[in-house]
């Protein structure tokens, strides 16, 4: 009986002791002049390019060249 009570008390002590370990800091650590927001992913990261930077660059370059009517109409 006493052994069970000690075990229960020990379990409660451990639970109370580590309760704050899962808590994440709520305040941003401010660094002057450094971006504080969420990280962004590159434009070619998601579908339809799925990380293929070369393919994305080729697509953008093609669209870019279509703005040049000297080349578009020839």
């Amino acid at each position: 009986m006493i052994k069970q009570a000690i075990l229960a008390m020990a379990a409660i002590a451990v639970a109370v002791g580590v309760a704050a370990c899962g808590e994440r800091p709520q305040v941003i650590e401010y660094k002057q002049g450094k971006y504080q927001g969420k990280p962004d992913t590159p434009p070619y990261d998601a579908a339809p390019f799925s990380g293929n930077k070369t393919e994305w660059e080729r697509a953008v370059k093609t669209r870019n060249q279509s703005q040049n009517e000297y080349k578009r109409i020839s």
Binding site: K34, Y35, N64
Partner: protein, 214 residues
């Protein structure tokens, strides 16, 4: 790839406001917020010029320098974006911007100023690409679809160009050469010196020691 820029050719802009409409439509921009607008100088006078103005995504962006909560960042393509979750709507960026790009939605009965909104070069913001959250906060992410800004792609006279700066420079150079052949002068691209700086002048070699003084 070099870096993304806008170029407005004042010789070609006809003040149709197609770029403004394309931007509004593409991103569902609310009433009172204009990410892009057309400014006309000497309106009604012979020789008037119109320019399409929005965030130029400056090389050394003053908005980034003055933001008290540091919510601005620059992507590897050179596009200046910001995190709306951090923005406090203080308006410092509006005072710092030479192009008047930052916009503030007026919401509520007392004219409370909302979070800053500006041109994203159709590149969204710091949310998952092409997600609902990104669309609601920043508008459509055309760049992630392999497209260029809607305003530039919709421009009927191709006065407004957007994209890789090397390609834009080549296009504009070709235009200037063609105009020069017809005897029409061209102006330097509007706002480029302000946004991207002048190219550095080549350094003069140091005078040899013991040389003549004048």
């Amino acid at each position: 790839m070099a870096r993304m820029k806008f170029l407005c050719d004042a010789e070609r802009c006809i003040e149709c406001n197609g770029c403004v409409t394309a931007c509004k439509q593409e991103h569902d921009i609310p009433w009172g917020v204009n990410r892009r607008r057309v400014v006309t100088i000497n309106d009604g006078v012979p020789g008037e010029r119109s320019i399409s103005v929005a965030c130029m995504h400056c090389s050394d962006a003053p908005c980034m320098a003055v933001c008290p909560v540091d919510c601005f960042y620059r992507t590897e393509e050179g596009i200046v974006l910001h995190d709306k979750d951090l923005c406090i709507g203080c308006g410092y960026c509006f005072y710092a911007c030479p192009f008047g790009a930052p916009q503030f939605p007026q919401a509520g009965a007392f004219g409370v100023r909302g979070k800053m909104d500006k041109c994203t070069f159709c590149a969204g913001g710091p949310e998952a690409n092409n997600s609902d959250a990104e669309y609601k906060k920043y508008g459509r992410n055309r760049l992630a679809e392999g497209k260029l800004p809607a305003c530039a792609e919709m421009c009927a006279t191709k006065a407004l160009l957007g994209g890789d700066s090397d390609v834009l420079s080549d296009i504009y150079r070709e235009r200037v050469t063609n105009r020069a052949a017809r005897g029409t002068p061209s102006m330097p691209p509007w706002g480029w010196d302000t946004a991207y700086g002048r190219p550095e002048a080549p350094k003069q070699p140091a005078a040899p020691p013991g040389g003549a003084k004048s």
